[in-house]
């Protein structure tokens, strides 16, 4: 049956709407990317002349280099510790029944609803109160709390999707609980653990609000260094850095996807 003009129009409008929405989503990234190649020392759009020099400047800038380095330290520690703590709590919540289970779960997930600046301010006051120098420990502790709910969630979902039949089968074949954990449970949970860690790492590396409170000049992470830079300068090296940021994250996800599958990385797949 031939489609009427009205149906064709409707179809066209629908497609146009999809294109506009998708365009809107990538608009900020696109604008920043284009601005990064501007030859002029101002953040203007669209650029009149093109250059790569801001990339070179961003890479060479001392505060950015230190921030990147600090960020890696904070991210590695906080997401790894959060993964271990989160996985243990996820196990307990999934496998055992105990008193105050709901309350414990609520507390563990509470950083989701507490604003980051509150957590950061809290740690700032606390650190000052007990005379804790503002070193990496404070920043890492703060980040652990912020990313814990996400890790917990990720591992918990993987555990729920894990058929306990596998563990029972292994036990029936003579494997001790520890052996079952090492040879069956952990390998089957690996995608969930990796995705939880990855998610935590990205959140921690990008975290700004709480980091602004708890970092010092010596420990400032990349987002904080970028903020301090914008307060003084307005050249496209910020945009260049953003482009590298996006490229790095994308590369990470592509690698993870190749090994684990995107559904598993984002933990949206039900079962296996």
């Amino acid at each position: 049956m031939p489609r009427s003009a009205y149906q064709r129009l409707l179809g066209f409008v629908g497609k146009l709407a999809v294109v506009l929405i998708l365009g809107f989503l990538v608009l900020p990234a696109a604008v920043v990317t284009i601005a990064a190649f501007n030859d002029k020392a101002i953040l203007s759009f669209p650029p009149q002349a093109w250059s790569m020099r801001w990339f070179a400047k961003a890479l060479a800038y001392r505060d950015f280099r230190d921030g990147f380095h600090n960020g890696l330290i904070v991210t590695a520690w906080s997401s790894t510790v959060a993964l271990m703590v989160g996985a243990m709590f996820a196990f307990a919540l999934n496998r055992y029944r105990f008193r105050f289970k709901r309350i414990i779960e609520g507390v563990l997930l509470s950083p989701l609803i507490i604003p980051h600046f509150t957590v950061g301010l809290g740690f700032l006051i606390l650190a000052a109160q007990i005379g804790w120098t503002r070193g990496f420990a404070v920043v890492i502790a703060c980040h652990i709390i912020l990313v814990l709910p996400f890790v917990l969630r990720s591992v918990y979902v993987s555990l729920r999707n894990l058929d306990q039949g596998y563990e029972r089968a292994a036990a029936s074949l003579g494997a001790s609980p520890l052996r079952v954990m090492v040879t069956i449970t952990l390998p089957l949970l690996l995608p969930g653990l990796v995705s939880g860690w990855l998610f935590a790492a990205m959140l921690s590396f990008n975290e700004f609000t709480a980091s602004l409170f708890v970092t010092a000049q010596r420990t400032q992470t990349l987002p904080v260094a970028m903020y301090n830079y914008v307060r003084e300068f307005a050249d496209p090296s910020m945009a260049a850095l953003s482009v590298m940021y996006i490229a790095g994250t994308a590369a990470l996800i592509i690698v993870a996807n190749a090994y684990l599958g995107l559904g598993k990385v984002l933990n949206i797949e039900q079962g296996r």
């Binding site: 039949g165 029972r168 089968a169 036990a171 029936s172 074949l173 494997a175 609980p177 089957l188």
Partner: protein, 373 residues
């Protein structure tokens, strides 16, 4: 079937012959009683089926044998040893799960060798035994496949091989055929039974499928509401059900209204119309003479004839259902039965001889019915 099997079932099991014993085992889940003081002795090499509707406690009993649950009362013995506090991994059991639970991150060889590896069997010996057991389940050469690459039937064979390779004291089967289609199921059943006989491994099989239970078991326990209603050979259970539940759960049964007319030794006589039917006396022990009783008759023990005064009852043919090898005929017969009667007869002549709507007399084979108060 044969007399030997019947005699075996009656002989009380000697202690050294018992592989698995449940002694007054109880299990509660919160308010509900899943098992109520269940006692069974399963003999060495026996294929014992636990049969019952869902929620009857059969799976709970199996999980207690496996050690996934612990009993609230009573004792579980495997090979004469008390198992109540022994964890699953020290029980020397082989178990096959409903969905097979093959480890998805290991290939066939890895799955089958798992139990051997845990027991510290050396690599060479392991490979040899894996090869042998895969040949036994007719999957020789499948070592390198992953579970995903196998069909349902093949996955089941791997699961069986994995459970058998450790030479378990007892093999536990949790509805292993429920995921297979009908044809495959029948051939897998035959194969499982052959392997079980060959290895003489004591087996506890859980199912809700009564035809599966009748065709596979040495003995079966019919369960409901956490108790064993009847324990016996398939023939005993089918021919001499001990109560209404067993009679209607196993096979098809017609219920006719009758009257207890007299008792004589081990048997009793029930009057249905002008007909007299001999039934076992035991279920009627408490019935008074001339008390109303319900007569349970299998469809193949009813026969159709011309409607005469001599028949037990008569009725009108409501429908014939052609089943290939036999014909199921449904008969409407007013007063002597609450429901339609089902008569099963071999051959298709029945349909031409007694067309739908015609009146027929029904007679009952003597000695094949049971009656309950």
């Amino acid at each position: 079937m044969n007399k030997v099997a019947d005699r075996d079932a009656e002989r009380p099991a000697a202690d050294n012959d018992v592989a698995v014993r449940f002694d007054a085992v109880s299990k509660r889940f919160g308010e509900t009683t899943a098992l109520d003081a269940v006692t069974i002795a399963i003999r060495q090499g026996e294929f014992m089926t636990l049969l019952g509707p869902s929620g009857c406690g059969k799976t709970t009993l199996l999980n207690l044998a496996a050690g996934f649950l612990s009993p609230d009362g009573g004792e579980i013995l495997i090979a004469g040893e008390r198992m109540n506090d022994v964890p699953t991994y020290r029980r020397e059991i082989g178990m096959m799960f409903q969905n097979y639970a093959l480890f998805p991150h290991m290939n066939v060889a890895g799955n089958v060798a798992y139990g051997l590896k845990v027991r510290g069997v050396a690599k060479q010996e392991r490979d040899r035994r894996v090869e042998a057991v895969l040949a036994l389940v007719r999957l020789a050469g499948f070592q390198d496949r992953t579970p995903r690459q196998l069909s349902g039937g093949q996955q089941q064979r791997v699961a069986l091989a994995r459970a058998l390779v450790i030479n378990p004291t007892v093999l536990l089967l949790d509805e292993p055929f429920s995921a297979l289609d009908k044809n495959l199921r029948a051939s897998m059943q035959v194969e499982l039974r052959e392997i079980q006989r060959k290895l003489n491994v004591t087996t506890i099989f859980v199912t809700h499928d009564q035809s599966e239970a009748l065709s596979l078991s040495d003995r079966l326990a019919v369960m409901s509401e956490g108790r064993i209603r009847q324990l016996g050979t398939p023939q005993e259970i089918y021919r001499r059900p001990c109560d209404r539940f067993v009679a209607s759960f196993i096979g098809d049964a017609n219920v006719l209204r009758g009257r207890l007319e007299g008792v004589e030794g081990d048997s009793a006589v029930v009057a249905v119309g002008v007909a007299r039917v001999k039934v076992p006396r035991r279920p009627l022990a408490e019935a008074a003479i001339s008390a109303p009783v319900d007569l349970f008759v299998r469809p193949e023990h009813l026969a159709m004839s011309e409607a005469t005064e001599a028949c037990a009852t008569s009725g009108t043919i409501a429908a014939h259902v052609y089943q290939g090898g036999y014909v199921d005929t449904y008969i409407e017969c007013g007063d002597s039965s609450r429901d339609r009667l089902l008569v099963r007869s071999g051959g298709h002549e029945t349909m031409t001889r007694w067309p739908t709507g015609s009146r027929v007399g029904i007679s009952i084979a003597s000695g094949e019915a049971v009656a309950f108060v």
